[in-house]
Amino acid sequence: MMRLLWKLVLFLLLSLTGIILFTSLPVLIFDYAILMNNTRLIDTGQMTNNSFLVNSIVFQPLAYWDQIKTTVIQLTDITNTTFYNNGINKPLLPMLMEVYPQSISFLIGGLFLSLLFGITFTILYMNFPVVVKNFIKKCILAIETLPDVFVILLVQLAVIWIYKNTGLLMFNIVNVYKTKAYFLPTLAISILPTLYVIKYLILTMEEESTKIYVEFAKGKGLKKIYILLAYLLKNTAAQLFGQLKNIFWILLSNLLMLEIIFNIYGITRFVADYGVENPHLAAISLIAIFLPFFVLFAAGSLLIRRLDPR
């Protein structure tokens, strides 16, 4: 138990360090002091002609170290942190709190939706005849190769198409003033992770169902559905949990496309808009994305450890 805790703490610390080191990287290669000064002059209107400004790639380890220190200081003093935008410094926390809950609700919603759909479908799948099984496997392989951009565009277009043809607007398609789209984005975000879950579960379940204890259970006369739920699902759950990181990654890259295509102002667009001028903002936002995942991951590994002390 102590070893697991130690591992989790190490994972947390190294991930935080990694995020801070990476988001400070632009300062290492670009001359931020001069660039930000010029940006300020342009934004406040003190400089109107910027065509004479020339800069080149530099290498500044000292500025990099300073930036890392600034980021850590800003992170520890998060209530007073400000960020630069268009000539003035704005407080970060209210802005972050505006965009953060929505994105996280999409992420968590997408995660649960994909697990729910994935597990339900796999249980159904295990009861299908072999011909259908093979067909489904091929379908999944084919759909899974589609990139996320395309899938999300397709969902949006499908809803528009249904609306045009039947006059039935199932969901709000984009965020326009005050009416927010909730269900469709969550659905769109969870399509590819669902496929991943299904693919992985089918693989592990079929492997598991060739084991001797399953045959013994069959021989005892237990119902197939009982074996599936009581033995197979329980025994593959830990392996599926090991894939949480990959599922989360697919969800995140879907989230980025979702926020752009559905015009949702969420955390990834927040990072893209302000993260370049404020490296500490990028660090704080990425940590904000990382933390819920870490909580899930830590809780899950502790739970598995408790249930299965091996």
């Binding site: 990694g18 670009f30 951009v149 980025l256 990834t268 990072v271 893209a272 370049v276 990425l286």
Partner: protein, 340 residues
């Protein structure tokens, strides 16, 4: 060479080859034409203005200047695919070098690096690329020359997955070098370089091929993502428009245009017109999709060919076959974030 016989691999490879060669041939035989912003029918009446709707002459409609969009896409193919090839090659060469560096340095550095690389799971790769590319291309674009902008973009795209890729290749090499025949080669007096060329490279090359193809797919999807984040990779120019709006107020707006008609650039350029003429955005996205599918076909072709040859060995030789698959046969796709 056995991959060429694999139908999946061949299919994907041919699709890419046709697109690429088609693009080159097209720009060689293309006649310069001046696009018109208005479309007339046979009797000379105006029936449409740019962007045209898809019709017989313009299968995908046209862009805002009246250029035939299909031709624009074909023209852009060679830049997009060329860029992808350049990035992929750079990644592979540098990461093989990086793998050697990782094998030489003490082990704890490798372990820390692999822990630090975990951060790539907690945000989309394209966001990481964006944070490094946007300073030169968007936010501070006024102070960098075109050449710097292009070099920085390329270097960032190449170096982004370098740590992960180097770690993977280093792992492969260290697994291979534990094999008995390589240990024996050491004992028989083979030098480091000799052993690498003679013994490790032949075993490593299928895996390197697989990684290369996967990286190409991943680069394509990163370029598509970056396009949605408004990054022009193939160069751009800005045009400032001035019109008079309602009640004689003067409106100025700036629109950026892609120089090379690279697909990502086309997506950015036409994004403001997405709701008016969706085909202008969807067509380049579909081009990306076709290429990504072709690449994924190649990946599964390679995987199948390897599996097949492994089965053949099992069948023909009556040696004792290993019970479990050796770690080097675990598909690489399940290991890293490089799965596209």
């Amino acid at each position: 060479m056995r991959y060429v016989k694999q139908p999946f691999f061949l299919c994907g490879f041919l699709i890419l080859l046709v697109i690429l060669s088609g693009s080159f041939i097209f720009s060689a035989i293309k006649e310069p034409s001046t696009p018109s912003k208005l479309l007339y029918d046979d009797s000379g009446t105006i029936i449409d203005h740019a962007p045209f709707k898809p019709n017989d002459e313009y299968p995908l409609g046209s862009d805002q200047d009246g250029n035939n969009y299909l031709y624009v896409l074909v023209e852009g193919a060679k830049y997009t695919l060329g860029l992808v090839m350049l990035v992929t090659l750079g990644r592979m060469l540098l990461s093989i070098f990086g793998a050697f560096v990782l094998l030489i340095v003490p082990k704890f550095i490798k372990r820390i690096l692999s822990q630090l690389c975990n951060i790539f799971y907690f945000a989309p790769l394209s966001i990481f690329a964006y944070l490094l590319i946007a300073p030169v291309l968007i936010v501070f674009s006024w102070s960098y020359s075109d050449l710097t902008q292009f070099t920085v973009t390329m270097i960032v795209l190449i170096c982004l997955t370098l740590p992960i890729l180097s770690l993977q290749i280093a792992d492969e090499i260290s697994i291979l070098s534990k094999e008995e025949y390589i240990q024996n080669a050491h004992l028989l007096g083979g030098g480091m370089i000799h052993i690498f060329y003679r013994h490790i490279l032949p075993c490593l090359s299928p895996k390197l091929l697989l990684l290369t193809v996967q990286q190409a797919g991943q680069t394509l999807s990163i370029i598509a993502h970056l396009a949605f984040l408004k990054i022009f990779i193939g160069g751009f120019h800005e045009i400032t428009y001035q019109t008079t709006g309602p009640s004689n107020t003067e409106i100025t707006y700036i629109r950026t245009f892609s120089d090379s008609h690279e697909w990502g650039g086309l997506i950015v350029q036409n994004w403001p017109a997405y709701y008016a003429a969706p085909v202008l955005v969807i067509a380049p996205v579909c081009c990306f999709v076709v290429c990504i599918i072709a690449i994924n076909l190649m990946v599964s072709g390679i995987a199948r060919a390897d599996q097949h040859s492994y089965k053949n060995i099992k069948r023909t030789k009556t040696l004792i076959v290993p019970e479990a698959e050796s770690p080097s046969f675990v598909p690489l796709k399940d290991r890293g974030v490089n799965a596209s």
